[in-house]
Amino acid sequence: MTATATAERTGAAPSFRPGSKRQHEVTRLLPGPLLACILVFLCALVLIPVAYIFLASVNSDIGVANGEFVPSTFSLENYGKIWSSVGLATGLANSVAVAGMTAVVSAALSIATAYVLVRYQFRGRLTALRGLLALQSVPGTLMVLPVFVLFSSSASYLGIQVIGTQWGLFITYLTFAMPFSTWVMVTYLRGLPRELEEAARIDGASNVGVLVRIILPLSWPGIVVSGIFAFLLGWNDVLFASVMTRPESQTAAVALQVFGASQEGGAIPLYGQMMAASLVCAAPVVILYLIFQRYLVGGLTAGGVK
């Protein structure tokens, strides 16, 4: 008790500024050497495999197969070959199209859904919120077979071919992205003050008007977060893409698997190209993440899910 009281008094003292040396001493959690050890260990843990991707991608296949960490030969030709050998270019184009479309549509749908869930009372509202959380955890392996059957039934009963097209993949990703994207928007919209909407209503704005003219311009950070998570879901998926695509509609994730399959022949696998392709597949995601890091980390902890 006394300690708290004293702390309050010192807290008011002028010498107490965030970032000052004294404050640094006070909030310090670990002794210096231990801190350094932890940082070095964790950075090495992360950076050694990441560095290996770079190094192996410029190495020869034999070099990688012999377990070289630092390449004995250096060449960038792997980055040229990957585009033709397994159709990575098609894969990347499909991935960008499907995941990008998923991101845009899911952000648009989730802001409308979240707006109603946050601002209006209706029967089943709490159930809907709880459902959003529950649906995020439904395992993909549980869904892939029934969704596959549903889509192939739509071909035989309705005459709409869904399996093997990008549309089937898009609809699937869109749906599976919706629960999390909506939840992110729900947590974001809660933080917006109601007064602006009320003012707009008094000026005669309709529901759609309020959403488009007031909520939308205020929620760009939330929209970006929910869109990016939807993008990542589509980009990272292997399960649905491996079941529901044909060679011409396959995504980058599936194209990368072809390297794994091509190594069963007994010859040395195309390790160098595999690593180069991995890097190319990872690059857009990592860049997106680094640009929007601040927003994404906030959205993640608020949503509480990957």
Partner: protein, 366 residues
């Protein structure tokens, strides 16, 4: 369990006496009006739980409603905006979920799949087969133990990372970005890279060989289980780190001051002052992490390929192989149902713990 990570959601400030003069009238009116549905929401929320509503829920509410002036937010609710998203989730998630449960009672293989509606109904036979004469129980055991082991190792790693980057130092922003890299990399890339590194005579074997360890096979045989655990740990500790960091940021500065004045040693300070703040976020991280690990298909699928070695035939892999390699669709649906039951345990705890609503939002429970 508390969920501190949800507490930072800012709550909407309510209209107060400080509202500018021209606004005061209408805003006030709006407030009076909204009080109506707010009340209704509360009644509704309490109703099913307490069983206080006399008679059926619906008619009672309908009868009461016209007696009161309808609130602003009730008169013109754009509930239709829920339709696109709701319909989508219903058609692509709820319907297939029910379809999956239905399929688990059918004898479904590659011949009957095309006409699955008329496939022979065999009741619980698929479940009996799944539980007695398939590797299902082994897979459940593998899934649970691998998830738990990975979680137990990632917890200290994530906490250490969060504690180490809590205080500012030169280059902290870079370190924080680095920490997120494993989490950001797509799972299929992580698995592809580790698969390459774990090849026989690959870079890991040669590194271990240079210090005189012959580790044996990583991608085949009994050691595969530990390969999977290792890669999962590498990929998922940053998630714990993120949630632990959000917990650390909720530690008040006064608490630091107080423990500094008391001369607490760093270890005692961590143990008795700081860690209690992390309990909520970490419990949340534990649950969500377990859900992710149990549901993780991509990592084992890409690391080992299918058919996977028996020691890494975790639930998602087994379900997938039963469907798309053995074409026992009915059996696979039954297995998927069992994994849903398994998932339901942490999920249920999670849903109970999560705060669905702001305290200030009317109708909010918890």
């Amino acid at each position: 369990m508390t969920t501190d990570s949800f507490k930072d959601l800012r709550t909407a400030p309510r209209p107060s006496a400080g509202t500018p003069a021209p606004m005061a009238g209408p805003a006030q009116a709006g407030r009076v009006a909204t009080a109506g549905p707010a009340q209704a929401g509360r009644v509704q929320a309490a109703g099913p739980g307490a069983g206080a509503n006399p008679g059926p829920d619906g008619p009672a509410r309908l009868n009461r409603r016209p007696a009161r002036r309808k609130g602003l937010s009730e008169r013109n609710r754009p509930l239709w905006m829920l339709i696109p998203g709701g319909l989508l989730m219903f058609v692509i998630i709820v319907v297939p979920l029910l379809l999956g449960i239905f399929m688990s009672t059918l004898s479904l293989d590659q011949y009957t799949l095309r006409k699955w509606v008329s496939a022979p109904f065999i009741g619980v036979e698929n479940f009996v087969e799944a539980l007695t004469s398939s590797p299902l129980l082994h897979s459940v055991w593998l899934s649970v133990s691998y998830s738990l082991i990975a979680m137990v190792v990632t917890l200290p790693l994530g906490i250490a990372a969060a504690v180490a980057t809590q205080n500012s130092f030169r280059g902290r922003a870079v370190v924080r970005s680095i920490f997120l890299v494993p989490y950001v990399l797509p799972s299929f890339v992580v698995a592809t890279v580790w698969r390459t590194m774990f090849q026989p005579d690959g870079v890991i074997d040669s590194a271990l060989g240079s210090v005189g360890i012959d580790a044996g096979l990583w991608l085949n045989g009994p050691q595969t289980f530990w390969t999977l655990v290792l890669v999962q740990i590498w990929a998922s500790w940053p998630f714990i780190y993120l949630l632990a960091l959000s917990g650390l940021q909720s530690v008040d500065h006064e608490v630091h001051e107080a423990s500094a004045l008391d001369g607490a040693l760093w270890w005692n300070k961590l143990r008795y002052v700081v860690f209690p703040y992390l309990k909520g976020p970490l419990a949340l991280a534990f649950l969500i992490g377990m859900l992710h690990h149990i549901n993780n298909f991509t990592l084992p699928f890409v690391l080992f390929g299918v058919p996977a070695p028996a020691d890494v035939e975790v639930l998602p892999i087994l379900t997938y192989v039963t469907s798309f390699q053995s074409f026992r669709f009915g059996l696979s649906a039954a297995m998927a149902f069992v994994s849903l039951v398994l998932i339901a345990i942490p999920l249920f705890i999670y849903l109970r713990a999560v705060k669905l609503d702001d305290a200030e939002t009317p109708g909010g429970k918890k």
